[in-house]
């Protein structure tokens, strides 16, 4: 068969096709977020089953410092809000504001991670690491998985901030920023449950 004559680049997708493509990609990302919810649910279930297995070691009430955790929570919550402000700027196609708000979100998120790493570090130093008991294994894994997701989000954010600075608000970049925003809000939603179930209920000796 003769070779096929084709145009090697499809930068000039029609507007409707672009819209459909964006639409289905955002929807696909939402489906992925739903799977991540089930992932966290499994970790929560594991934590719920193991949280009293302290094996003569410390329980939640002994190691959780609620004021500190409140600080972490407020940092993450505020970063979710500033992400929302970034999304509004995105809607208004204001490149400068998008970059500024995402930088703010990044800094707040980074602050959250630093606080969390500090918390983990202190526990490990006091020989109360994940190796100590089933409870601590479950605690470090649940909170740690959330933290890993936040780190991935921060890397993504750094890459996107760089991209926007260089290329501006192209169609692909706008779509990806929307996905990043959904991801970031989702991480704060998960944190609500960690804050409540792990820290608050732990402090109540549940």
């Amino acid at each position: 068969m003769e070779p096929i004559i084709a145009i090697p680049s499809a930068k000039s997708l029609k507007r409707q096709e672009k819209e459909e493509k964006n639409n289905k990609m955002l929807f696909g990302f939402w489906v992925y977020i739903m799977t991540d919810c089930v992932l966290f649910a499994s970790l929560f279930a594991t934590y719920a089953v193991l949280h009293n297995n302290v094996y003569n070691g410390p329980g939640g009430a002994q190691i959780f410092k609620l004021p500190y955790v409140l600080g972490e929570t407020l940092l993450l919550l505020t970063s979710s809000f500033s992400c929302g402000l970034a999304t509004i700027s995105l809607q208004n196609r204001s490149k400068r504001k998008v970059i500024s708000y995402f930088i703010l979100t990044f800094i707040l998120g980074l602050g959250f991670i630093v606080m969390e790493l500090n918390e983990f570090h202190n526990l490990v130093l006091a020989h109360e690491s994940w190796r100590r008991s089933g409870f601590l294994s479950a605690y470090f894994t649940l909170v740690g998985t959330h933290g890993l997701h936040v780190i991935v989000g921060l890397i993504w954010m750094a890459v996107m901030i760089t991209r926007v600075s260089i290329s501006g608000l192209t169609n692909n970049i706008v779509r990806r920023l929307k996905m990043l925003a959904i991801f970031w809000h989702f991480l704060d939603v998960i944190w609500i449950f960690i804050f409540t179930i792990v820290y608050l209920l732990g402090a109540l000796h549940l």
Binding site: L85, R93, T196
Partner: protein
Amino acid sequence: MSKLPLTINHDENKLKLSSYITGFGLSILFTISAYLLVINHAASRTVLIGLVIVFAICQFISQSFLFLHLGQENKPRWRLTIFAFMLGVVIIIVFGSLWIMHNLKYRMTIPQEIRYMKSQDNL
């Protein structure tokens, strides 16, 4: 790259600053209330547990609608459908596992171990 038109997606126009401000405000309210209640041990343990859980659910709902814009898509509302499905699966897995594991723990722990755990205040 030519300047993009203001909306490439029909869903976009609906985003308002007010939803984020309200969401942020409500979340702060629920978070700090729950925190203060626990720190000050403001009620009996059972009541506190109930309140804290209720606040968490309220914050979850407010963030889902105000930050994640749940239910604001055009019909057919597939995001909402999948979200509801996910909630169902999560509830079954979490509470199903808790029921099963609690039942197993009760039935598969020997008496000596129960006595030991009670003495350690861990059961």
